[in-house]
C-alpha cells in the first residue's frame, strides 16, 4: 500500500463519515458543519486526482460560499423547527432501502467493468491544464455556449433568488418599513 493510497483512504473515510453525520445528526447547524468537512474531504480527493484548480474551487465555492449560505439559511429559519423535534420522515426506512439498493447495484456495475482497474496516465501539468481549461471555455469550437449560458444561469439564479427572498412589506412612503418579525 503506497502513501497515496493511504491518503486516499483517509480522505475517503473522512468524506463518508462526515457525509453520514450530515444526514443523521439532528442539529441543523451541526449538519452544515459536517457537510463542510465532507466537502473538504472531496477537495483533498480532487487534489489527489491532479486537479488543483478544482480542489481550490471546491474550497472557495462550496466551503467559502455555499456552506455559508446554508448556515445563514439554517439560522434564518431556525425558530420553527427546534432541533429536538422529529427530524426524519415516517418513511425514512424506505429511503435507506432505496439508497442501499442503489449502492449495491452501483458496486456490482463498477466492479464488472474491467477497464476501471487501470491506472491513469501521466499527471498533466497544472499550469498548462489551466490554460487549456481557460481556452476551451471561450473557444468557439469548444465550450463557449455553456460558458455564456452559465453566466445567464447565474444571472437567473441571482434575480430569481433575490425576487423570492426579498423582504416583501416595503411600504414606499414613510411609515415603518420593517420586515415582519425582523430584528437587527
Amino acid at each position: 500500500m503506497t502513501l497515496l493510497q493511504l491518503i486516499f483512504l483517509a480522505a475517503a473515510a473522512l468524506t463518508l463519515g462526515a457525509a453520514v453525520m450530515v444526514v443523521t445528526t439532528s442539529r441543523l447547524v451541526h449538519a452544515a458543519l459536517w457537510l463542510i468537512l465532507a466537502l473538504a474531504g472531496v477537495a483533498v480527493l480532487f487534489a489527489l486526482l491532479d486537479a488543483p484548480f478544482l480542489a481550490i474551487v471546491q474550497v472557495v465555492v462550496y466551503i467559502g460560499a455555499i456552506a455559508i449560505l446554508i448556515i445563514f439559511a439554517a439560522m434564518l429559519t431556525r425558530r420553527v423547527m427546534q432541533d429536538s423535534g422529529r427530524q426524519t420522515t415516517r418513511t425514512w426506512w424506505l429511503g435507506l432501502l432505496a439508497a442501499l439498493l442503489l449502492f449495491g447495484g452501483l458496486v456490482v456495475l463498477v466492479l464488472q467493468v474491467p477497464g476501471f482497474q487501470a491506472a491513469g496516465g501521466a499527471a498533466p501539468d497544472p499550469q498548462a491544464n489551466l490554460i487549456d481549461l481557460g481556452r476551451s471555455l471561450v473557444d468557439v469550437n469548444a465550450f463557449i455556449l455553456p460558458f455564456e449560458l452559465a453566466s445567464v444561469l447565474l444571472l437567473a439564479a441571482l434575480i430569481g433568488a433575490m425576487f423570492v427572498a426579498r423582504p416583501e412589506s416595503r411600504k414606499p412612503p414613510g411609515g415603518k418599513s420593517g420586515t415582519p418579525g425582523g430584528e437587527a
Binding site: 455559508i68 425558530r79 481557460g134 481556452r135 447565474l154 433575490m162 420586515t179 430584528e183
Partner: protein, 118 residues
C-alpha cells in the same frame, strides 16, 4: 504534482496546533473556578430574555447570495485570466460579455433597492 500540496498539508495543521497549544497552556496554567453566574451569557446588565435564536434580517442572506453568484463567476474567469495571453481578441471579448451579463444582475439588484440596508 502532489508535491505542491505537501507544504500546505503541513502548514495548515500547524496553524491550528500552535495556537491550540497556547490555548491549552492557558487552560492548564490559568485558574479554574467555575460558578453559575460566570457561565451565563453576556448581557448588558440584565438577565437574558428568551433563547439565543433571535430572528435575523433576510438582508444578510441576500448579501451572501450575491456573493455566491459572483464567487462562482470568478471561478469561471480565473482559467480565462490565466489563459489570457494565449487568447484571441474575440475570446477576451467573450469573457467580458460573461462579466457584463452578471453586471446586469448587480444593476437589477441596485434598481430594485435590494442592496439597501434597512
Amino acid at each position: 504534482m502532489h508535491e505542491q500540496w505537501i507544504y500546505v498539508a503541513f502548514l495548515l495543521p500547524i496553524g491550528v496546533l500552535l495556537p491550540g497549544v497556547a490555548v491549552l497552556a492557558g487552560k492548564i496554567l490559568g485558574p479554574r473556578k467555575p460558578n453559575p453566574v460566570k457561565g451565563t451569557p453576556y448581557e448588558c446588565g440584565i438577565e437574558t430574555v428568551g433563547d439565543t435564536w433571535v430572528q435575523f434580517k433576510v438582508q444578510y442572506y441576500i448579501y451572501a447570495l450575491i456573493f455566491v453568484v459572483f464567487d462562482v463567476e470568478a471561478v469561471f474567469l480565473f482559467p480565462w485570466a490565466v489563459a489570457y495571453h494565449q487568447l484571441a481578441f474575440y475570446m477576451v471579448l467573450e469573457g467580458v460579455i460573461f462579466i457584463l451579463i452578471l453586471a446586469a444582475g448587480l444593476l437589477y439588484a441596485w434598481r430594485k433597492g435590494v442592496l439597501e440596508w434597512m
